[in-house]
């Protein structure tokens, strides 16, 4: 299908079309302190006119001074919380007359539509698919939510200082399949979206909207926006060559860089919980006071927590050095052995949301520097 134009004032029609099709629509909204992904009911819920200023250990919301809906970059939270809920009850059990009755908890998976998914985030979802859908331990909750998921991707026309998708080859232009892809253009007085339908159901939604054919100038402007985001990253300090990272890390497992970062790292787990691809969880059982009722809960966990690597006798990774090294070498190296691709999409969340500003790209470059003969 040829690219079409959706006027900005008609964006709400897209949201309502999704809602009318039974989707719970999730999009960027303004929390008091940051842009977060949350449920939206109309275009008024979107974080229109707000920007994110991101640096290491730093995030501020700023008014953009224009009417863009998607002028900001990735939200504070990742989409993963909607596909893999942070806490979930797996089953309840009841002891009755000496017998144990197990009651599995099943849910009617909500039919979700994500509005405003960035290219790096589509990659992150694909990476989690490899873990939860295609791997040997299929996760039913994730798989069901994922199967019905409708994505409206948005091409980035601005990069935050922490963005490095251009280094990880995951953006800023959407290249993975998405039901719809939007590019926002605000040019003089005209404000519109260039729209592409990437699937049958995406095109069915488009068929209900008042679209116009895109002129070549409009297409060129959209392209220019994406190129400007790419330029911002390519001229920034977080642009690097990501080829050969796996081998680099494997041959530097004893680099002094690990000791240096361990001095600064809090092992607080923020990076892993903000990361859109980190997928680890813990499973815990509990009882009530009577001992007649038990529950099994699953909740997000982190390789930065001591309990995470606890086996009989103690925690395998007691030091922060071993935890940081585990996280970074898994993310950038052994993930490739495990799943065939890197676990990092360059969204920069681990950099912004580290409370002491540890920057994975700086750490990588420190190891690269020390690696040179």
């Amino acid at each position: 299908m040829r690219a079409a134009i959706l006027a900005a004032e008609h964006l709400d029609l897209l949201i309502q079309a999704l809602r009318d099709s039974g989707y719970l629509v999730i999009g960027p909204v303004r929390d008091e302190l940051a842009i977060v992904y949350d449920e939206i009911r109309s275009v008024r819920d979107l974080s229109q006119g707000w920007l994110d200023e991101q640096e290491k250990g730093h995030y501020r919301l700023l008014p953009s001074g224009d009417g863009r809906y998607f002028g900001h970059t990735v939200a504070a939270n990742a989409w993963k919380k909607f596909l893999n809920p942070p806490k979930r009850l797996l089953w309840r059990a009841r002891q009755h007359n000496g017998q144990l009755q197990f009651m599995p908890q099943s849910e009617d998976a909500p039919q979700l539509a994500f509005l405003g998914v960035r290219s790096c985030e589509l990659h992150a979802i694909e990476i989690q698919d490899a873990v939860f859908v295609h791997d040997q331990h299929r996760d039913e909750v994730y798989s069901q939510r994922r199967q019905s998921l409708f994505t409206v991707a948005v091409n980035c026309t601005r990069a935050a200082a922490t963005c490095f998708c251009a280094s990880m080859n995951t953006g800023p232009e959407v290249t993975l399949p998405s039901d719809l892809v939007l590019t926002e253009v605000l040019d003089d007085a005209s404000h519109y979206f260039l729209v592409d339908g990437g699937s049958e159901r995406g095109r069915n939604i488009l068929a209900t909207l008042p679209l116009r054919a895109a002129t070549s100038k409009q297409q060129a402007l959209a392209k220019k926006g994406i190129e400007s985001a790419r330029q911002q990253m390519q001229t920034g300090p977080r642009f690097f060559d990501s080829a050969g990272i796996k081998e680099l890390l494997y041959r530097n497992l004893e680099s002094p860089a690990w000791d240096e970062v361990a001095d600064r790292c809090l092992s607080c787990a923020n990076c892993t919980l903000a990361c859109p691809t980190c997928f680890c969880s813990a499973v815990e059982d509990t009882t009530d006071l009577t001992g007649e009722h038990a529950e099994r809960w699953q909740q997000w966990d982190s390789c930065f927590n001591g309990e995470f690597s606890y086996i009989h006798g103690g925690s395998v990774r007691q030091t922060t050095r071993s935890r940081y090294r585990q996280w970074m070498t898994h993310k950038l190296a052994s993930w490739i052995d495990q799943f065939g691709h890197s676990g990092c999409v360059g969204c920069g969340r681990c950099i912004s949301w580290c409370p002491v500003g540890i920057d994975i790209t700086e750490q990588l470059q420190a190891i690269q520097q020390a690696d040179k003969p």
């Binding site: 730093h58 919380k81 806490k87 009882t287 982190s302 500003g357």
Partner: protein, 284 residues
């Protein structure tokens, strides 16, 4: 007090009296009563608890006092007098399991501020008749005096965590209490980080979870009520907060609160004081 249980194995509450209910005792040492009140605050679970255990000694709730031994002793407060030093030995001797609850019992509490000063100076300032006061020069956690079976953190403790610990004891399983950072609770609750988005001097990254990240949920920084998390790195937090221009006195205050005598916080405060006296880079 003479019927000390000397078993070294982990006894179950039913070892002694299989037909009877477990005997529960609640003790108070130097503290504000807030933690034992958390037990009375368990409105939904209190009747169930009373059905499961025999509340044999709980002066805050009832004047009924049954003699030991007790299957489970829940102890609030720190040790600050010579009498308490003796009494905690007696409580330990009468208790199969002993659980320390709250910042006072697990770290010495706010009253451990005296540990960094001269206690007599404090007494002179605070009391009209200092001669009546007989106190130790330091406030210490229970673990300095006796073996503790479990420490439940908080100032005050979280009542849901208390019910969890008692349930675990009654059902002979491990309590589901995490030692990770408050940050994990913020992220699981979808609470935006106040340290990063506001530059607040938040103690969350060095503080153990358990409160449900109560303060950050209201956009307030964490005060460290639950004490140091496992593997805490306060120095890294101090360095970062200093680099943001946060006042040293503010950072120091955060480490000299309810858990001031917990070793990682105590060491952090000492390091800040040392650096204030001898700023780094300035030769003596």
């Amino acid at each position: 007090m003479t019927e000390a249980t000397s078993t070294s194995k982990h006894p179950s509450p039913s070892d002694d009296a299989p037909a009877g209910k477990a005997k529960l005792a609640v003790w108070k040492f130097t503290s504000c009563d807030g933690c034992q009140l958390s037990l009375l605050d368990c409105e939904d679970e209190l009747l169930t608890l009373a059905g499961q255990v025999d509340i044999a000694y709980f002066m805050e709730a009832s004047s009924r006092q049954l003699p030991g031994p007790y299957d489970l002793s829940i102890v609030e407060g720190s040790i600050t007098t010579p009498e308490q030093r003796e009494l905690i030995q007696a409580v330990r001797a009468q208790s199969r399991f002993l659980i320390a609850i709250g910042a006072c019992a697990t770290a010495g509490g706010i009253q451990a501020l005296r540990n960094m000063a001269q206690v007599d100076d404090y007494i002179q300032i605070v009391y009209a008749n200092p001669e009546y006061i007989d106190t130790l020069d330091r406030s210490t956690p229970l673990s300095d005096h006796v073996n503790i079976d479990f420490e439940l953190r908080g100032c005050p403790i979280n009542k849901h965590q208390l019910v969890e610990v008692i349930s675990a004891f009654l059902n002979r399983r491990r309590p589901r209490i995490s030692e990770h950072a408050v940050c994990v609770e913020c992220k699981l609750n979808n609470t935006v980080c106040v340290a990063v988005s506001r530059g607040e001097a938040c103690m969350g990254p060095v503080t153990q979870a358990g409160c449900g990240a109560l303060c950050p949920r209201y956009h307030r920084p964490c005060y460290g009520c639950y004490g140091p998390k496992e593997n805490a790195n306060p120095q890294a937090l101090i360095d970062w907060q200093s680099s943001l221009g946060i006042e040293t006195v503010k950072i120091l205050e955060n480490f000299t609160n309810f858990n001031t005598a917990a070793p990682p916080f105590h060491n952090a405060a000492s390091s800040i004081r040392r650096d204030r006296q001898n700023p780094p880079g300035k030769s003596p």
